[in-house]
Each structure stands twice: as C-alpha cells, then as structure tokens.
Amino acid sequence: MSLLAVHDLAVARGGLRTVEGVSFTIDAGQALILRGPNGIGKTTLLRTVAGLQPAVTGRIEMPEDAVAYAAHADGLKGALTVSENLGFWEKVFGGGDIDRALSAMDLTPLADRPAAALSAGQKRRLGLARLVVSRRPLWILDEPTVSLDAASVLRFADMVREHLAQGGAALIATHIDLGLDAQVLDLTPFRAKPAPATRPAGFNEAFA
C-alpha cells in the first residue's frame, strides 16, 4: 500500500508555478530521491507535500499525520541540552525512543551538552535524530546531508535504511549519492511552462 501518492501536482513559489504535472507514489519501504537544478522548486515541492503550503493544482494523498519534515533549519534551542531538545519533540509527536535516536546519530556522548555548544555537523545530526523520535512513517528531507562529514553521511544512510526496513518511506531532495536502493525522479522535465493559467497561482500569474 502506498504511503504517499501525488497526482498531477503543481507548486508555486513567489506566485509563479515552478514545476507542474508531477506524479509519483511512494510505497512503504521505498525511498524517492528528487533531483534537478537549483531553483526548479525541490524545496517548494517538499514543503507542499509536507503541508506547509497549498498546492496550486493536483492531489496529494497520504494517511493523516504521516509526515516528519526536516529542512535546512534544525529547529533546535541552544539553551536546551541535546536530550531535552529531543525530549521536547518526542512529547509533541507522541512518543519515540530518545536513546535509540541518540545512538542512531552517534550523539549519546553529547546528550547532556547544551545544543548551543554543538558544531554545525553535530546540530545537523541532532536535527536528523529528531526524525527517529517523531515515529512518523513518511520522512520528507530537504538536503539532509548538508554539513555532515563522510562518516555521518554513512550513519545517516543506515538510519534511513533501517527506517525503510521497518515499513517507513522517505522523500529526499539531495545531490549526493546516499547509497540507498531508491528510485530517482528528475524534476527538470516538469518545469512549469509560462502559459496562461486557468487558475493563477498568485498575483504574479494573475497579472502576467
């Protein structure tokens, strides 16, 4: 059964559609890698699927409360310790295993450090560990490996693989090869054409 089904989706940034006619499905245990040049709308597409902004047209089907979203900002509070940060999201998302999340991203020795004292890569690892804690089946990840070193990238790939093996799924925008057994979707052919739209995405399309 599919965790995420996207039909004929068009998304817009700044009132102009970026990609249109995008369709794909992701089943449990599968990962889909999004590729495409800068500015084509990978982030916009991910945010739309995550429910942070409305789609211009098309349908997104998924079970309720399925998404865990992780983007450039990790949502960490520097004044809280590593385990307090995870503990907060664990309570908000309703229960996950903090210890397992810490060990998955090799953060156990840092558990009592304030997050402000972490390096950029360590913060990133903490942001990704939050995914385990959220216990959501569908991970939506926007460039998850930024500022990770090679060893951490491998560790992260293991974490995703384990998630998939447990019946989860992932939609990832990334430029590096994670070594996952995943489908790849190149967004370049879906670039929106500047044709007059029957249903404008925003002011910039309504008045052009």
Binding site: Q53, K77, L80
Partner: protein
C-alpha cells in the same frame, strides 16, 4: 501542548530576562512618572491607575516579537506546523507562556508600584482584578500581531503599530474598573466588559493568529 508550554517557560528562564525584563521596565516607568508630573499625591493619585495600566501594556509589548520570531528563525515553527499539535493550539500555548513570563510578574508587583504612585489601598483589589482579567487578552492580541509580522524585517515597529490600537478597549475598561474601585463606584459593568473582551479574544484570536502564521510559513 504541555510540553510546548514547559519548553517555552524553560527557554524564558534560561535565556535570562524572560521574567525580569518586563518588571524592570515597569519599575522604571513607574519611577519616572513622578519626575514628569511632580511628587504630590494630588497629582499622582488621579493618574496612578492609568500609569499602572499603560506600564503593564508597554512592558507586555516589549517581549511580543519574541513569541514567534525565534521559532521562525530556527525552523521550529515549520516543525510545529507539521506536528500533530493544531497550530491554533500552539498559538494559544505560546500566548499563555508569554502571559506567564510577562503578565503574571507584572500583576504580582503592580500593588507595590501602586504604592509608589500613591494609589489608595482601597483600589488595590480592583487593580489586581483588572490586571488579572485584562492582561491575558493583551498577550493573546500580541500573539496575533506577532504572527502577522513574523519574518518581516521591520517587524518590531510595525508590531506596535498594529497591536496598540487593539489594546484600546482593554485599557479603557481596565482603568475604568480601578477608578471606580478607587471612588467606591460600581465596578460591575467594566468588570463584565473586561472579562467579556478577554473571553472573546481567547476564543477567537488563536484562529486568526494561526491563519496569519500559515500565510507567513508558506
């Protein structure tokens, strides 16, 4: 929800200044007024209620932009929006955290500052009652203003411009209640108006604020 409240309170305590800053501002304001109008009881007493309310209102305004700005910068707001918590609930909880960290300390010290301004002791129950009923509305309306201006570069000034007019009814009924308490008048009508405004604001504004937040997140 409780987790979010506890986190916001913990952050306010640890970041420092969360509890103290508003009260310190309030104190300075109350200490400056006699320099402006003179030290006579005859000059201070009639305006004490107004000064106390204005001070509370401005102290509340100081920390409003932090309600959402920090969470917006570090991405927490995105994550909260995708969490099982309804955004309306998150808004209400964050407004409540703001009230606990700024409104509540102000209420606690207000009688003390009332003495500084020669507010008659008979008016102190009215002062406490009006602040207790009115300040939650200030925090919630402030959360609405913060939600509208989150992510704007010149947000701080605009926030005051948008929020202060919304405070007018609360200010009017709050000071009126103290004035009547001072003069031994009937406090019923202003009390009911104040309670009604706060109840209405708490019930409706979270939806408007959440709608504004969703617009600013996309």
């Amino acid at each position: 929800m409780i987790a979010l409240l506890r986190r916001d309170l913990a952050l306010a305590v640890r970041a420092g200044g969360g509890f103290g800053l508003g009260v310190a501002f309030f104190l300075i304001l109350c200490a400056l007024v006699p320099f402006g109008v003179g030290p006579d009881t005859a000059a201070l007493q009639p305006i004490a209620a107004g000064i106390l309310w204005l001070g509370a209102l401005l102290a509340c305004l100081l920390s409003l932009d932090r309600i959402f700005a920090l969470d917006h910068e570090d991405g927490s707001l995105d994550l909260l929006a995708t969490s099982p918590l309804p955004l309306e609930g998150a808004v209400a909880v964050k407004a409540m955290a703001h009230w606990i960290t700024t409104g509540l300390p102000l209420i606690v010290v207000a009688p003390l500052f009332g003495i500084l301004l020669h507010l008659p002791p008979a008016a102190i129950p009215a002062l406490l009652g009006s602040l207790l009923l009115g300040t939650p509305a200030l925090s919630m309306l402030g959360a609405f203003g913060a939600a509208v201006t989150v992510g704007l570069r010149r947000g701080g000034l605009l926030l005051s411009l948008l929020v202060l007019p919304l405070y007018i009814p609360t200010l009017i009924f709050g000071t009126e209640m103290i004035r009547r308490g001072q003069e031994g008048g009937d406090m019923g009508p202003p009390l009911l108006f104040l309670a009604g405004i706060t109840a209405g604001v708490l019930a409706v504004i979270p939806f408007a604020a959440a709608a504004a937040l969703r617009v600013n997140l996309r």
